[in-house]
Subunit: 334 residues, 2 copies
DNA sequence: TTGTATGCGTTATCAT
DNA sequence: ATGATAACGCATACAA
């Protein structure tokens, strides 16, 4: 008789071969409870011979936690976003958890996301979409699943946040515009909802005013390359061009630069001081050389998982906010 | 007494409330076996009241398959790669499987990747790294875990492949160079190992020769932006510049264009016909307007998951190769 | 230090 | 069509 499904080697097989009990095997592999050196040796040997691996499904079922971390993410096509995901999944693995990727498109509503998270008993959830439906994390805390929000506005009991220091970043940029003695700067934002974008827009307006800089705001339909293109079209139609342009993120900035060059030419564009925010990879490309604010994605990632692990250990603690440090990356665009 | 762990509502709770057996609950939710309409109604009602969700951990343990698809991926910072991941994870979800993200960095060796895959009893594996250590998929087929390789060379019994039609793509490009009546074209490749890159390099050389085009090859250290920059430096030092440049992927091409502009100026660069391959998002940016070959990532993704699902259903079938269609995206660079 | 027994939540088999 | 029961593989409380 041939079963098409290969019988998985389990702890009983190892126990039998090693001449010990299943419990001994379990203890050696979970590093829990007492097990003598000689027993451990026997178990390890038998395990190696049989090619035994702990079944995490069974372990999770028993322990009532999966060590899976739900990674709820939108806009994976955004290079800055994929940078975040890269660093986050590395950080998750470094802490011995596993990343469970959940892309949220417009097509998939939050209910399905929640279902997926719950079906697999995730140990925690990281949300890094621009506009995370709040039912997602409300549901999570209701089921007492720890949540960390990245660059999100909402304060919510029992959910932690990691945000980048927009205040400091904007201050650095305003100072840079001041040093270029810009009297008027146009802010490029987005109509689409995003905590980061809208906050930076407001902060820049405020801090620029204090520095005696006149501002004006143009919104693209979105905060991506195409949004920047649209905004630049509007900008280039204005009677007089500003001395400076601040784009609420790099993605917008690249579109703005490209379209400005097309509309008013390279040399005219070069006269305008342009800055972005995030320091995505493409900002350093020679076609752009964009002056911007670096968001340290690795630090952000490790702090995120730190908060999450800490909350998994103690779910009841008060919510915390970690603010990542930022700094100015000065290139030729400003 | 207060247990800090909330008791998860299970099928027994639903069964009790609905006044039926656990089996009935199981059958309604797994759509397996007979269940009368009235019973189903009762079960669904009770489930809703209790907020019951099937525990996929337990289900997987019982069924001996997790419905998790391991997504083994390197270079997530590469925008084309993240595009692939985006489409793949969508396709996986569409087929009711779950993406299990496994980034492979240099730091993490293949053993750990294999361990992760096996620990979670993944139902299948998709590998889309440039240089997948072959022990990964050897191990997989040894444990009879279905594997699909994307744009990889290796033919291996029982593993399927999805490759893009490099032959056709190169043919289209060579024809474009011919129409521009280029007599000499420099090929920009990479020293780093990559099936796609090296294959395109060889194909272009061969097909160009047949078309009477003289070729010359320059290798960057890597097939990314920086690699293109390095290659362009070498190129610009050559005695006489070629009429055309073919870069084995867009990522290289963008670096080549930028560095060429810096070294020989915009106008000189414009005289050179430049083409890439992949059609990554940035290729369409106005600074580049790169003529290239479109790899249809969505089609690729859905074919990949189709092959995988089919093999999950019948693991013993002979290996297949699906070749995705490609087409020329003509922009101003050529 | 080790072994025994029980439970985690589901599904599949076999009766009824 | 429905219900009891035995797995699935592991971890732990308890006894020894």
């Amino acid at each position: 008789m041939s079963s098409n499904r290969i019988k998985q080697v389990s702890s009983v097989d190892v126990a039998r071969l090693a001449g010990v009990s299943r419990a001994a095997v379990s203890r050696t592999f979970s590093n829990n409870g007492y097990v003598s050196d000689v027993t451990r040796e026997k178990v390890m040997l038998a395990a190696k011979q049989l090619g035994y691996r702990v079944n995490h499904l069974a372990r999770s079922l028993n322990r009532q936690r999966s060590d899976l971390i739900g990674l709820v993410v939108a806009d994976l096509e955004n290079p800055f976003r994929s940078q975040q995901i890269n660093d986050l999944s590395e950080a998750i693995l470094a802490k011995n958890y596993r990343p469970f990727l959940i892309p949220t498109s417009v097509a998939r509503d939050s209910t399905q996301v929640i279902e997926m998270l719950m079906h697999y008993c995730v140990s925690g959830v990281i949300i890094t979409s621009d506009t995370p439906p709040e039912d997602i994390y409300k549901n999570c805390i209701e089921q007492s699943v720890p949540v960390v929000l990245i660059n999100k506005k909402d304060k919510y009991p029992q959910v932690d946040r990691v945000v980048c220091d927009n205040e400091k970043g904007i201050a650095l940029l305003v100072e840079a515009f001041v040093q270029r003695s810009c009297k008027r700067v146009v802010i490029i934002g987005s109509e689409a909802v995003s905590y980061s974008i809208q906050m930076r827009e407001a902060l820049f307006k405020e801090q620029a005013a204090q520095a005696g800089i006149e501002t004006d705001t143009i919104l693209g339909p979105n905060h991506d390359y195409q949004g920047g293109v649209v905004a630049a079209n509007i900008l280039s139609n204005q009677a007089n061009l500003p001395e400076g342009v601040f784009c609420c993120n790099d993605y917008l900035a690249l579109g703005v630069i490209d379209q400005l060059r097309e509309r008013i030419g390279h040399t005219e564009t070069e006269k305008i001081a342009i800055a972005g925010f995030d320091d995505m990879q493409q900002a350093s490309w020679k076609s752009y050389q964009l002056t911007t604010i670096r968001q340290p994605t690795q630090d952000m990632a490790s702090q995120t998982i730190n908060l999450l692990v800490s909350r998994i250990g103690d779910p009841e603690q008060a919510s915390r906010t970690y603010r990542t440090d930022v700094f100015l990356v000065k290139r030729t665009s400003l």
